[in-house]
């Protein structure tokens, strides 16, 4: 056996990958050749030193848990693992969409109502019927709107009735009463209960932050009341209470 032909076999010999007859021949050669025997001794040392590469890098317990969780009981758990966050995310998006759409509709409705208030204030004739007397104002609306409402007694309160006018909201006729409170004017808008003002309209007290107006809206019997004013919320609230009392 020649050293040159042996060299290529040394690795396979070391790895136990030689056929038995090849291994016998090689052992024979190694016994007589110092060059090849020192060569294979060095190769064996190197191979041994490489065992240190085993277990050189150790995974963290946390990472092991993570993978274990991922692969254990594939069907059910992976379904739960994935479906829970997806379900929550979906529900959140849906809720946000509903709230957003509802909010959008409400904001749009309130912007229109605020416009009615502003229009009245900027109009050359603030009211079509000028009277501080509720017994004059209420009959004025008869035959003009398809419903009737009650007005409270304003004497002895902070409020003074200025008068009333007809308004339209979403093609529906309604009554707009102007009530003054000190320097502030409050619009009392009254519509039929069928008027759609958005999904959250039944909420009793809403202060619209988007505009500088306070708005309070409620429904009593077949009527929808909306108060719009730049007065402070308490002022609007108290007037709302007076109106509610006589329209229950």
């Amino acid at each position: 056996m020649q050293c040159s032909s042996v060299a290529a076999m040394l690795g396979a010999y070391l790895d136990g990958e030689l056929r038995p007859d090849q291994a016998v021949d090689l052992q024979e050669h190694l016994r007589s050749c110092t060059h090849c025997s020192s060569e294979i001794a060095e190769m064996a040392r190197q191979q041994r030193s490489l065992r240190g590469a085993r277990g050189h890098f150790v995974p963290s317990a946390e990472f092991r848990r993570k993978v274990q969780q991922q692969i254990s009981r594939p069907r059910r758990r992976s379904w739960l693992l994935w479906s829970a966050p997806i379900g929550i995310a979906f529900a959140t998006v849906l809720l946000a969409a509903v709230v957003w759409v509802g909010h959008g509709r409400r904001v749009a409705a309130f912007a229109e109502l605020a416009d009615l208030h502003v229009n009245a204030l900027s109009s050359t004739n603030l009211v079509d019927v000028v009277s501080t007397d509720r017994h004059t104002v209420k009959p004025w609306f008869q035959g003009k709107i398809p419903f009737s409402f009650n007005l409270p007694e304003f004497n002895g309160t902070d409020y003074t009735l200025v008068g009333g006018r007809m308004v339209y909201f979403h093609q529906q006729p309604g009554a707009q009463l102007i009530v003054s409170m000190h320097q502030h004017k409050i619009s009392v808008l009254i519509f039929q209960g069928t008027v759609d003002l958005g999904p959250s309209f039944s909420a009793s007290a809403i202060l619209d932050q988007g505009t500088s107006f306070g708005i309070e809206a409620w429904k009593s019997r077949q009527l929808r009341f909306v108060l719009v004013s730049d007065a402070d919320p308490t002022g609007i609230d108290n007037l709302a209470r007076l109106l509610k009392q006589v329209n229950e």
């Binding site: 990958e17 190769m43 191979q47 590469a53 150790v58 995974p59 274990q68």
Partner: protein, 177 residues
């Protein structure tokens, strides 16, 4: 095989797979990504795994293929692989004493450093053979190459490693002094 058994059979290989992944990627976070993907793929394909065949080699193969398609792996593939078949480099240049090489081999840190520096095609050969002690046949399966290629590439890798240690030996000793 039934995926029910996957966890039971595959988790004992976890440490080995992570170690191998770290040696291939050279980075802990990359190794974690690689191992995680390997387990996910193996679980998915577990029905195609035949009972009685070598699960370790099968998992190694998935890991190695996943590595090759990873960011680091693609970079490796782009590097030129020196011709496998020629066993050209003659390492007869024994201008270094066997003793100093012996010292280097006993310094396991320098062996680990030299291994980490080897080009991936040779590094993975040494990892699978000398570290994991896979047979040539198993390595051929993992890497999807003929056994002849395993033998020549492994032999070349071992020589390159020895060369690197030899080159490192005198320099280290002069630094030490």
């Amino acid at each position: 095989m039934d995926p029910e058994f996957f966890e039971m059979l595959a988790m004992p290989l976890f440490d080995q797979l992570f170690n191998l992944a770290h040696w291939l990627t050279g980075d802990r976070a990359d190794a974690e990504d690689l191992v995680q993907e390997t387990y996910a793929k193996a679980l998915k394909g577990f029905r195609s795994f035949e009972e009685g065949t070598n699960l370790r080699a099968w998992m190694f193969r998935i890991l190695r293929n996943t590595f090759l398609t990873s960011r680091t792996g693609l970079k490796v593939q782009n590097t030129v692989l020196i011709e496998d078949e020629t066993d050209g480099v003659d390492l007869a240049a024994h201008n270094i004493t066997p003793e100093s090489l012996l010292l280097q081999l006993e310094d396991s840190q320098s062996v680990m450093n030299a291994l980490a520096e080897l080009p991936v095609p040779y590094r993975e050969m040494i990892l699978l053979s000398d570290m994991e002690e896979l047979s040539y046949k198993e390595i051929a399966e993992v890497l999807a190459v003929p056994i002849g290629t395993v033998m020549s590439r492994l032999s070349r890798g071992r020589k390159m490693l020895r060369e690197a240690l030899r080159a490192g030996a005198p320099r280290r000793s002069t630094h030490a002094m």
